[in-house]
């Protein structure tokens, strides 16, 4: 019970690492910095493993396991504690965060080795781990918000890590600002929870929300309002429509950061938050619909943009947006454990994809444009094979982790709405296409770079080892839910079922132990087969276009030039926001509020008065350059006038 009893140790380990490196790191040798950063995350990961072991031994009545440390805010009748809690959902998140985080820390020691900001990088990365752990361990919404904002801060700092580059710091600012728009919803949602339930503790809010009657569909009561406000926050953090715009730009950060923060962990915080609040969402059907539709549309929308991007990291970024859409689709149709399952498998394969992309970029000496790659398969075989595994996983090849998690989501979506399912299947096809396109452009075909200038080399072992470990999970990580297809037990869902026991839709209507008998086996095969077939189709198309007949893509782009430009220009959403929101706001602030109102109207009036009293102003100037005695006289005069006025009126 060591870790459970001392829960604080988990977040404190990376915080200590961040503080030590942040304060002393600049004077330390690089090996010591590495040692501090790695040991703190290694210890955190093993503590999380130990916690998992201890947690399994807990009796069910002691779950959620809660530890309260001290009262944070108490004002009037409101209080919020620094309290941590562990339940099944937390355990999953902890293992994903510390596990993937640990691997990425190892990888970074290689990737960032020659960067002058090495120490700064690791203290930010450790700080991120701290806030992420606070986020998943928090026992109330306010502490969750601390982690939420903290990871946002680290994301900002790490996106702008190369602060000499304007584009990097711009991207950092954009990320922070867009997330703040999301926070608008989160804060108001939290306040409304507080007003409705009088507390922010999960352990108190969630049962009370469950006890409230479900709000009629299509009607927005208080629970629906709370749910929608929270979802605005989630859409910001997890890059959903219409707030996804920051994530592609976030690729300005170093690649390990993209892997850890902008693929595996932080961006999934929104999904985690919705899953954590699932009780509220379940009693707000309208909000559920919104979540499902937004998730589904985001999945499709981002996937279409991913089809034509040429920057290897941008393709992966849009892919992340798209996959996060799947997770929200799962939540929206009530399949929360499926959403969390996909969150986990996605952490494996997308983390891997980014790290492998980093290895490619490393090999190419910093080149990210896939048009200048090609034929790398033989030169960097480890990178190729691990990335190939990850591609199969995300494309949903049968037996790979993404297959199980995606199919579980689509199956659940199909029960709610066939259109949602159909869009999901279509997106699965697109996913397969853009991922294989990436793979083929990078590793196959002719070498489109100058071999004399680019010395392609395989990455060092400390970068390859995390790739291999993640590849193993990307391939096999789905099997914990696999037996279900064979009529067995979905261990993952069963493990999470105590958390999601309030779920009334897919989670419980589907008997946890075996498949719903109402679905005929034949129909099930079609349902499961459809995404696989779509994926296969995507693969074949990519193969045809980028391996077999590599001149065709250009022709297609020419004959559908309007569509191509629209996709290539990312639907011009950034431009739209600039034209509709940013520029008018700037214009109003500058021309109307500042120059017209402030300087024109208000100051105009004031200066008018001032002109009248210019004479006294001149006198004041004289005094100002003069001595203090005359100013003392002024006080005296004032006091005399005041007193005599009083006496006169009193008399």
């Amino acid at each position: 019970m060591l870790v459970l009893t001392h829960l604080w140790i988990l977040p404190l380990l990376p915080l200590a690492g961040a503080a030590a490196n942040g304060v002393f790191g600049r004077r330390w040798p690089k090996s010591l910095v590495t040692g501090v950063a790695l040991s703190s995350t290694t210890l955190a990961f093993f503590s999380a493993l130990e916690l998992g072991r201890e947690f399994m031994a807990l009796s069910t009545d002691r779950i959620p396991w809660t530890k309260s440390y001290f009262t944070w805010i108490t004002a009037g009748g409101f209080r919020a504690d620094f309290a941590l809690q562990v339940d099944q959902l937390t355990v999953v998140m902890l293992l994903v965060v510390t596990g993937v985080g640990w691997l990425i820390h190892i990888y970074s020691t290689g990737y960032m080795h020659d960067d002058p900001g090495y120490t700064r990088f690791f203290s930010y990365l450790n700080l991120f781990m701290f806030f992420m752990l606070v986020l998943v361990l928090a026992a109330n919404y306010l502490l969750m918000f601390v982690g939420w904002e903290g990871v946002g801060l680290c994301s900002y700092l790490l996106i702008g890590f190369f602060f000499l580059k304007q584009s990097a710091t711009n991207a950092g600012n954009k990320a922070f600002w867009v997330n703040r728009v999301g926070d608008f919803g989160f804060i108001l949602g939290v306040l409304l929870i507080l007003r409705t339930f009088g507390t922010l503790d999960f352990a108190a809010v969630l049962p009370r929300a469950a006890a409230m009657p479900a709000e009629p569909a299509g009607q927005a009561g208080v629970l629906t309002t709370i749910a929608l406000l929270l979802f605005i926050g989630a859409a910001g953090k997890s890059a959903q429509l219409p707030l996804y715009v920051w994530l592609p730009d976030a690729m300005e950060g170093p690649t390990p950061v993209s892997a850890l923060i902008h693929a595996a962990t932080m961006v999934t915080a929104g999904v985690y938050m919705v899953a954590r609040s699932h009780v509220i969402f379940l009693n707000a059907p309208l909000a559920m619909e919104v979540v499902a539709v937004v998730g589904c549309l985001t999945a499709l929308f981002a996937a279409t943009i991913g089809l034509v991007q040429t920057d290897i990291k941008r393709v992966l970024a849009y892919s992340t947006v798209s996959q996060l859409g799947y997770m929200f689709l799962a939540c929206g149709v009530g399949a929360f454990s499926a959403g969390i399952f996909h969150l986990m498998t996605h952490a494996f394969f997308k983390g891997l994809l980014f790290l492998a992309a980093g290895s490619v970029i490393h090999a190419m000496g910093g080149e990210q444009d896939m048009r200048k790659m090609g034929g790398l398969r033989k030169k960097i075989p480890w990178t190729f094979w691990t990335m190939f595994m990850a591609t199969l996983a995300i494309a949903g090849a049968p037996g790979f982790s993404g297959f199980f998690s995606k199919d579980e989501i689509l199956l659940a979506a199909q029960r709610t709405s066939t259109p949602l399912w159909a869009v999901g299947v279509l997106t699965a096809g697109l996913t397969s296409f853009y991922m294989f396109r990436l793979l083929f452009l990078t590793f196959f075909g002719t070498e489109r770079f100058d071999e004399h200038q680019v010395h392609v080399h395989e990455s060092p072992r400390n970068m390859l080892a995390p790739l291999v470990v993640l590849a193993i999970f990307a391939v096999g990580g789905g099997w914990m839910a696999a037996p279900e297809l064979l009529g067995g037990v979905n261990h993952f869902r069963q493990f999470l079922s105590p958390v999601f026991s309030f779920s009334y839709m897919n989670e419980t209507s589907l008997p946890p132990d075996h498949l719903d008998a109402s679905i005929a086996t034949e129909a099930l095969k079609v349902l499961l087969g459809a995404p696989v077939i779509a994926g296969l189709f995507g693969f074949l198309l990519a193969w045809w276009l980028y391996v077999r007949s590599s001149e065709t893509p250009k022709k297609i782009a020419e004959s559908f030039s309007a569509l191509y430009k629209l996709l290539k220009g990312k639907y011009f959403v950034d431009e739209l926001y600039a034209a509709v929101i940013v520029r008018p706001l700037v214009w109003i602030s500058d021309k109307v509020l500042w120059h017209a109102v402030d300087e024109g109207v208000i100051d105009g009036a004031v200066n008018g008065v001032a002109r009248v009293s210019r004479e006294s102003g001149d006198r004041l100037r004289y005094i100002g350059s003069g001595n203090v005695r005359s100013y003392a006289t002024w006080i005296l005069i004032g006091a005399v006038i005041f007193t005599s006025l009083l006496l006169w009126m009193a008399g």
């Binding site: 904002e149 007003r195 001032a610 007193t643 006025l645």
Partner: protein
């Protein structure tokens, strides 16, 4: 010592003045002596004020105003020398002595001319501000209110930068208009009550028996003085000029303390002066809330467009102080204690921001954003501290600003979701202007050769900034001691100005609260009757 024990407020109040008087006798040419004595007395002022913290009694039976001193002063008109502080003024007094010491320290090398006069005026200003927060007699209050105006005028007008005279006169005129109206208000109150006393509680109590139209007039007479000081939109245009032109220490004090005299005035005088008639009162409160929200948004938007660092921070003050007035006029305990805490927070964060601009100004003699860029490279430690201060100002959790803003929003939410939602937009914009400023000043390559070899912070600059950073973390992580001091005075005020609040909450709580709340944990400061509206943590949180 005996005198100190019985007259602690007087000692705190006049320590700076003693320093100022002493400086009068120091010859003009011994310039080092001036700054040594100035710093000594400012620091001494901080030291003698600290015992207030632990001597202040939190007991519910303690007097509302503590450390009271009362002497007959001008018997013919009934003016008394009455001092006393409650939790609200306690925090503001400590903020004043702390920021006073810090900003005088920050002037060490920044002020090169007329040092003698500078330190005399600064110490005099300290006494004036402290007096405003301590006086419990209207006559005395008004005296200090005016006393503080004059040194500030000269600090801007003599030691300011290029357009200092315009700024100083504008500041003077604005404030004078407010003061005159307030004087009329005080006189009206005095004669209408007809009790031949300036005692604040007595006069305010008698004001509650006036007819509605008199109450409304009284409210507005006081309103202008405070609204200009805060400043509330549209009375704010003196602030950007005054801030921009004032020397660093002047800006720190102006933002950190002077503006709080307006919010303090609202809390101490305007709230009790709110008309008793519900309709009239509702009208006034609505106006105040709307104007506060306009100030939050307007300040933030105009702020984004500024090209001068100090002006930018000045407009951000308009936005932040909008939160404070919003909290005050929500008339709820959370709104009010959040507001007072946010006033302290603003003093810390914005004070630190002005010190940061001062650091740059002393090195480059410009405040134009476009003159800077890429300073992270030559000044890494400065970059770290500036980042923390920015984050504290934009309300990042675990730093002070968040606590204040959240508590205010909590209080405002109780009366209207609408206002809270608008106010949150101000928070969103806060991140925009502060981080954009940071980016333009600190990030990127060093483009201006003048910035290439700027020295990082020196020991004295650390000494001015580190205490504020520590306080920012303290309030962000463990704000309980601050709220504890505020709970009782805030409750007394809300009981008085919003009598329905506690009753209504009490009646409403069972509906919210399914589980009976077991005894409030002893460490919560909820020992107020009928305040037990937060359900106790669910049993599971007690598991060990």
């Amino acid at each position: 010592m005996e005198f100190y024990n019985t007259h602690i407020l007087t000692v705190v109040l006049f320590t700076p003045l003693v320093g100022a008087l002493l400086l009068l006798f120091v010859p003009r040419d011994s310039e080092n002596a001036h700054r040594v004595i100035g710093n000594l007395f400012a620091f001494l002022g901080l030291i003698v004020s600290l015992p207030l913290i632990w001597r202040y009694s939190l007991s519910p039976t303690a007097d509302r105003f503590q450390f009271k001193e009362n002497y007959n002063w001008i018997p013919s008109i009934g003016a008394h020398y009455t001092l006393g502080i409650d939790g609200i003024s306690l925090l503001l007094v400590i903020l004043t002595t702390l920021l006073g010491a810090i900003s005088i320290l920050s002037s060490w090398s920044a002020i090169k001319m007329r040092r003698k006069e500078y330190y005399i005026l600064f110490l005099l200003l300290q006494t004036g501000m402290l007096g405003v927060f301590m006086a419990l007699d209207f006559f005395l209050f008004y005296l200090f209110w005016e006393v503080m105006l004059v040194p500030m005028y000269f600090l801007i007008g003599v030691w300011g930068s290029d357009r200092r005279l315009y700024a100083a006169i504008k500041f003077f005129l604005y404030t004078l208009v407010g003061s005159v109206l307030m004087l009329l208000g005080i006189l009206a109150l005095y004669f209408k009550a007809g009790a031949m006393t300036f005692d604040v509680p007595t006069l305010l109590a008698s004001a509650s028996k006036f007819d509605t139209s008199t109450q409304v007039i009284l409210f507005w007479l006081f309103f202008f003085a405070f609204a200009i000081k805060v400043p509330m939109f549209p009375f704010h245009t003196w602030l950007p000029d005054a801030h921009t032109e004032a020397p660093t220490a002047g800006s720190v004090i102006l933002a950190g303390v002077l503006l709080k005299m307006g919010t303090y005035g609202f809390i101490r005088f305007s709230l009790p002066l709110l008309p008793q008639d519900p309709a009239a009162r509702h009208k006034i409160v609505t106006i105040m809330l709307v104007v506060s929200v306009i100030g939050i948004l307007y300040g933030a938007l105009v702020c984004m467009m500024q090209k001068d660092m100090k002006k930018l921070i000045a407009y951000s003050s308009v936005s932040h102080l909008g939160f404070c007035t919003l909290g005050i006029f929500a008339l709820t305990p959370h709104g009010l204690s959040g507001s007072v805490l946010q006033q302290i927070n603003h003093g810390i964060s914005t004070g630190a921001l002005f010190l940061i601009v001062g650091v740059l100004y002393e090195r480059r003699h410009t405040r134009l954003i476009s003159e800077f860029g890429g300073l992270s490279t030559p000044m890494p430690n400065f970059a770290a501290i500036y980042m923390i201060v920015s984050l504290s100002s934009l309300g990042l959790p675990l730093l002070n600003g968040f606590i204040g803003e959240f508590t205010i929003l909590r209080g405002v939410y109780e009366i209207s979701i609408k206002y809270a939602a608008w106010a949150v937009i101000g928070i969103v914009l806060g991140a925009a202007y502060l981080l954009w400023l940071y980016q333009r000043v600190m990030f990127g390559p060093v483009t201006n050769p003048a910035n290439e070899h700027l020295p990082d912070l020196n020991a004295r600059e650390y000494a001015t900034l580190i205490p504020l950073v520590i306080l920012a973390f303290w309030i962000g992580i463990y704000p309980k001691p601050f709220f504890r001091v505020l709970d009782r005075p805030v409750q007394l005020i809300v009981e008085q100005v919003n009598p329905g609040y506690y009753g209504a909450e009490h009646a409403a709580s069972p509906a919210v609260n399914a589980a009976p709340a077991p005894s409030a944990a002893p460490d919560t400061m909820m020992n107020m009757p009928g305040m037990d509206m937060s359900p106790a943590p669910a049993p599971s949180t007690e598991k060990k």
